[in-house]
Symmetry: D2
């Protein structure tokens, strides 16, 4: 039995993580830290939660003394790195914030507006479909953003055929977090659809690390709690047939536990409350634009479920253990 902990456990991501970890037979949760909610029962914040777990506010000394096998940080961007640097080297870490997602520290600092605590780092970007071997060896894994997950998986195999890719994404409002307008006043998204950060959302630059073609990114919030669709508009600049594009994806993901590829157009509900990414579409129009559509659950494959995948790889479990 491995021992794990969560820092910043009180947000949607930490909460989903806790629920998944409780169902995982190979680990137990020893640390459930929240500075704001020290001493509060989880069920008080999440009335639907069944269990007696209580948030603590352990110091880093206390956490290091407990010596867990792995710590998840679900702390906010810009703060997470401070915490991570205080954990003992013997503890493996999965960071669900953006703090270690960028190899280029200058780029991180420009996008997130804070000086990084390190001038360089060797965190592994935790997308198992691309980096399984590295994740297995890593001490520190940067868990990908939800949009980045959906977009990279939708575009990675086709990128060398593309001149420009436009990602038009739609996400459930949980993606905006527990302190977002949608959580404060859920009536404002009812029967509504909202576009935001239409050209310079931070996930755009995260995607650009892996999809090496000019790209554009526009996100929208839909009237549901969880679930996400990426409609990838891929302007082709080489000859390829729809059938060949489908085959490219099928081949690329043939060993992936959690990516399903077919011609069928996936719907948001097809992957809600699962760790799967479903990819479909594969039609090309008269302007040589290929449409590929991917759906994931933003809270699971887009955050906590993928973190469990990474944990499984880092701790030697089967990659899908506890996720089906």
């Amino acid at each position: 039995m491995k021992q794990v902990g969560i820092l910043g456990a009180s947000g949607y991501t930490g909460q989903e993580l806790l629920k998944l970890l409780k169902k995982h037979a190979g680990v137990e949760v020893k640390v459930l830290n929240s500075r704001t909610y020290d001493g509060t029962k989880v069920s008080e914040l999440y009335p639907d939660f069944e269990g007696d777990e209580t948030y603590t506010n352990y110091t880093f000394e206390q956490i290091n003394a407990l010596n867990p096998d792995l710590i998840f940080s679900a702390l906010p961007h810009r703060i997470s790195m401070d915490a991570i640097e205080k954990l003992d080297n013997s503890i493996k870490i999965i960071d669900l914030s953006a703090d270690y997602r960028f190899k280029d520290i200058k780029k991180y600092e420009a996008i997130y507006g804070r000086k990084h605590v390190k001038t360089a780092h060797n965190a592994v970007y935790g997308l198992p479909e691309l980096h399984q071997a590295e994740i297995k060896q890593a001490r520190l894994v940067a868990n990908p953003g939800c949009y980045a997950t959906a977009c990279i998986l939708a575009a990675y195999p086709i990128q060398e055929f593309a001149g420009h890719i436009i990602f038009d994404c739609k996400s459930g409002w949980s993606g905006a977090g527990k302190d977002s307008p949608y959580a404060k006043d859920p009536t404002i998204i009812k029967d509504n659809l909202v576009a935001y950060s239409i050209t310079r959302h931070r996930h755009k630059y995260e995607i650009e690390q892996f999809v090496k073609t000019p790209l554009s990114f526009t996100p929208h919030v839909i009237d549901t709690f969880q679930g996400m669709m990426c409609t990838a508009h891929i302007l082709l600049n080489k000859d390829i047939t729809p059938e060949e594009t489908l085959k490219l994806y099928v081949d690329f993901y043939k060993d992936s536990s959690f990516v399903r590829v077919s011609k069928d157009i996936p719907q948001v509900r097809h992957t809600q409350k699962t760790n799967f990414c479903q990819i479909g579409g594969f039609e090309i129009d008269e302007s040589n634009q290929l449409v590929v559509i991917s759906t994931i659950d933003n809270l699971i494959k887009g955050a906590s479920g993928q973190a469990i995948e990474n944990m499984n790889l880092m701790l030697g479990f089967a990659s899908s253990y506890g996720l089906n």
Copy 2:
């Protein structure tokens, strides 16, 4: 008091039209035809409707004898033209189907899969923002499709600066009509998002008549009854600043009663249950992609409300009469 009629009055479009016409002080509805529902009260089909109106199944002889000033055809594509050709020349016509939307008869026949009853026609495409003068003189107006309305209005002023435009559209499920899966089983769209006809939707070709740049079009259905957003991804091929793009639109629509332009990003609810089209965004990203977003109500500005605008122009009323 002018006299008007509706053919194919029992669908969502005909119903919305009836509701709007009842509030219009300048007209009275003399014909409310439905072959299937002859003798049925409107309130039986639309339980929310207040009024004693009953569908009839008048013959064309009867309708011609009643000699109304104007007839709306809300009949299905491919059938509407048969009816329209039987109406007397003294009756003005607004066709809400696609039958007269294409100047190029061959194109219509290829897209809609039926031989047209005419080899040529001089119907006016009823988008008041482009064709106000022609609509005033027209005997026959082809009312635009809902997606076409949102997309053309979002792209028309900028087209000469664009190399390729991708329209990613999202519509309430009423757009799929009263016999659609969503109307048969509303639970299937609950908390869901569905992409369909991802590269060759028929409205794409309707848009191409007015937006003369390579374009792509992908529609989605959202979990609400009415409302629509068009996210236009415009790949610029000439130099222009965001401020200049905004000014282009502001100038172009300065005399339009129902188009509002500003930098603010419009949301679906901003135009729900109104005849307005709101246009905003106007940001350009690092790949020289401009994002412009338009929202309309698919049943109103996207269908019945715009039909009333056209009627107002054809019958000599102020264009916004009965629509505020």
Copy 3:
């Protein structure tokens, strides 16, 4: 493998029944009759349905010749009995309409406004919690109404302590059926709550056959597709403590596969999409009014699931076979 059939298969009840029967390993569906939809695929009417089944319109001669073990009639009230009387005596029958729910033929005729085809009948009222032994022997079982199921289960054990019982019930809109206003226009129940038939709903009289105390019944429709709550306000006229009332129910239902009793107040979602009835509350106020709350899924325990329970008993399967 037993062979079964459904008459009137195209409504919500028939559809739910078909879905449950497809999961039941002991039976196969040989007849799927619908007069209106002869030749139509099920998936055309229910877009969410996976399978190639097609509605037929077999004659009674054809059905009798097929000689199925059991036929479910999901035909409308007043019509169902005509069909049932034409089936061979060798075929067991479960009638989901109200036609055989009343022992007193005159009462049936007064409530449903049609002369019964029989002057007497010996159908068993198919509530397994009350009539398990009789159901096992029956040739013809009258499947209870949804409200009747929720109310009888909520009140049966306590009735001898009660002077008057008020059943205030709330149901998902599927209870109103595929031709109801809610199915025609789902927007009218959105964010709404509707009371109807507030004193003389037909299920009141069905309940009175088993709950032998003065009673009142008021139903409401809630903004969800399926699920039901019965809030039973029981005016006590004998001394009893809350704990004793709870014990009465626990004892009464101790052998029931599908009734769960506890002090916890059940919510609609606790039994949605299951065949369970959950009963809780058991508080007494200062006016000696006991509140007992039951929840069921109106389409399952309130209709098709209970029909499967009855089938299991009639065909010799374990009562919960295929229902978990």
Copy 4:
């Protein structure tokens, strides 16, 4: 122009009040107090709010020095009275908490579990339909609870004919407040219905002050933000016809600005976002049980709208000023 203020302005009730006061042409809001959110913009807490208003944390000395004409207290029960006692006598007060709703101080203390700051008070219970004259003269008005408003209005005129009244109430989840489970996790009420405090809700005792017959009260939360229905089951003990009961109500409310009476059964949406109470039903069943149904908006007629009515009466405006 009269000057008013709100204490405890950050909750749902204070927010609704602010929105209504901004539309009222006769007053201006000089105090918008919130201890927790001092310095926070309203729009930060309520993203949908348009305006630059900011919460303050004035001391009572500061508020008294500003000398407003009237202060609304939207502070929590048990705390509101502390604040109210510190306001100058020249300031009129409307308390939206329960602190002054009970004439019987001992009863208040038993129900709310705190010693009252006064041993007696002469606050007027602010239900304009019962106490219009007293409200006009009052310095301190206790604004009624939402359930109490719906129930008293549904039962007051008939009480002398009743032996027992059961109020079965259903409310939107905003009634549970900004810190409730439903606000923290709106997914738990989705497609759900929840009964709570099934026999001893505090509003029961508030109703008993005005409805002088044995009564029972059970509330439920429905899947919508705002709106409320009271289904009153009235066990008659005197002879009266349905028509006579309707006439009783019509006569009783003939001068009320905001109560509408008719035989039609009111639905929750009929009064949503309005200050109206609609009363209907008026059927009597075979057990001599009369059903009367009232609907209100719990945030408006059930709280802030009614507070405006009271303000209008206290400050000499027409009672419906600013509420239509």
